[in-house]
Symmetry: C2
Subunit: 329 residues, 2 copies
């Protein structure tokens, strides 16, 4: 496949390297000249058989592509979508941002009916560091990569094309609607960023506490090191789901807070803590044996809802190989 990757940050920079290491032709674009310079140096060092190109002209990347991957932050998507379509591109588009409903709505509004097709994507492979220097070709190995599949609106062939691509670089292709995705990541990704910020802020001006902070503080605040504008954009773009998920966590913590007021706090805390302990012990769920699933919308969405993922797409595109959590088989 000829793939154009627009944006060479952590995800885009990792993706060009991962795709180039398979049989794909890859061209990367970034609007920032300094990023392009760093990326060109890395590209020049790529081994034979894993070569890729960098361009400073978005149209040059897009004109020869079968697939355009928009790897820019959420706020940058609207102008980039306009530029890609203005260049006459008519192929398949995907993105890698952490919120899917607003991007689906943007694509529906911005893409002409006879123009490019859009399938939303999101690799769950963030790090607290961003930018090309943090990129690594194996970033997606074993990571869940959501590919959005709607009951209507997504061409199944496009979905399977992308599933074949992301599984070829070792990712787990997870089928989910944009709305299901947004609810799930609100709970497991966006809310943890808000808790981390709230916890990190609490040691400001307390040098003794900062000196005593160790593993539980380090891990509980790690993602507070993420650039605030990225976290603000992803939470704001998914505000409804984040509110809902945050309220559930806040209710859990409020129950723990009440238990501290009980006559016997240890006894009152224990069952609540045991619930969290059991949930953490069951995660990540052990993968079951590979099974074959029909490459149709309903069974694929059912697979995603059950916590499963696609590991390979059959060459005839009529079935996929899939894995579910072991307990559910």
């Amino acid at each position: 496949m000829n793939v154009a990757v627009i944006g060479l940050g952590l995800i885009g920079g990792s993706l060009v390297q991962a795709l180039a290491a398979t049989e794909h032709q890859v061209m990367g674009f970034d609007a920032d000249p300094a990023t392009r310079a760093v990326a060109r140096t890395a590209a020049a060092r790529a081994p034979a058989g894993a070569r890729w190109q960098v361009t400073g002209a978005l149209r040059d990347a897009v004109v020869i592509a079968d697939l355009v991957v928009l790897a820019v932050p959420l706020p940058a998507l609207p102008p980039v979508v306009s530029e890609v379509t203005a260049g006459g591109y008519r192929g398949l588009i995907t993105d890698v941002t952490s919120v899917k409903t607003p991007v689906r709505d943007l694509a529906t509004a911005a893409l002409p009916p006879d123009g490019p097709r859009y399938v939303g994507g999101h690799p769950m492979a963030g790090r607290e560091f961003s930018g090309f220097p943090a990129a690594q070709p194996d970033l997606f190995a074993g990571c869940a990569w959501v590919l959005c599949l709607e009951s209507s609106g997504t061409l199944l062939a496009d979905w399977l094309e992308l599933a074949a691509l992301v599984t070829s670089i070792g990712a787990r292709a997870v089928p989910a609607t944009a709305s299901e995705h947004d609810d799930a990541v609100a709970a497991v990704s966006h809310v943890p960023h808000l808790l981390a910020a709230g916890l990190a802020t609490a040691v400001t001006g307390d040098p003794l506490a900062a000196a005593l902070a160790a593993g539980s503080f380090r891990d509980g605040t790690r993602v507070a090191a993420t650039r605030p504008e990225l976290v603000a954009a992803m939470c704001a773009g998914n505000a409804t789901a984040v509110r809902q998920a945050l309220d559930i966590v806040l209710a859990n913590v409020a129950a723990l807070r009440s238990a501290l007021d009980a006559p016997d706090p240890a006894r009152a805390l224990h069952p609540l803590l045991a619930g969290g302990h059991a949930a953490r012990g069951a995660w990540p769920p052990a993968p079951g044996e590979p099974v074959v699933v029909a490459a149709r919308v309903a069974p694929l969405l059912e697979l995603g809802r059950a916590g499963g993922w696609v590991t390979a797409v059959a060459p005839d595109r009529r079935t996929v190989t899939a894995v579910r959590p072991a307990a559910q088989q």
Copy 2:
């Protein structure tokens, strides 16, 4: 020094190995025969010059000791203190539990006036795994080890003896009152455990969310893997400080929650997230150059309040070498 370590879990098991690797004579006791068997196997494999002993009789460990380290969980402390004093021990006692005010009160009540002296301690070296098999001799290298120092009540000579001991195995001896310690660890250790439990519980019954959970969920919930009874005991034993610290974090998170309701959530979230980002970026504080501090109560407590720690005790016990955060020098 002849050191008896009572309890061979993660901390006690690591401590016997760390002390034995310096010039100390160490005997370990555990009430559980299976733990003693595992510990004896490890002791038999210790290299020459780092030998230590295991006993199944607490009195045998205590009778020859200059120092008794109580490395049992908080709820087990009262009977163990009784047993140590009943054995006629009159030397120095310390402990390693994560709450210091209740242990200080227990010691004040339980120890006869002419009996053993007590100095509370707490190495900030927890892991989510417990038990002797998780122990490692280098667990305390670079870790903050609080040693309680009260304006009255602690014999300075005892404090310095313990500071010399813990710095000899690479720990940072942090002077703090029991109450200062409890407030600080409520914020940086106990509250993170409650947030982790609240977050982990939220994915129960949501297989898609569990499948998409990645780094931010993994780190934000890591300490939910700690045994619930240990977390319940430490939070209950420090309930007042934990309530206070949790309310501060909940207020921070409530502000983020309100920002999600603002007309422009990204703009409203940004300054709050930037505060957390700055706090995380400033942690851990860079250590300054070593300085010499008088070995007296007031300057030592001032050092701890400023986020500093003792790295060595002078042989004449009149001064200590100390490090403060770089920005404060």
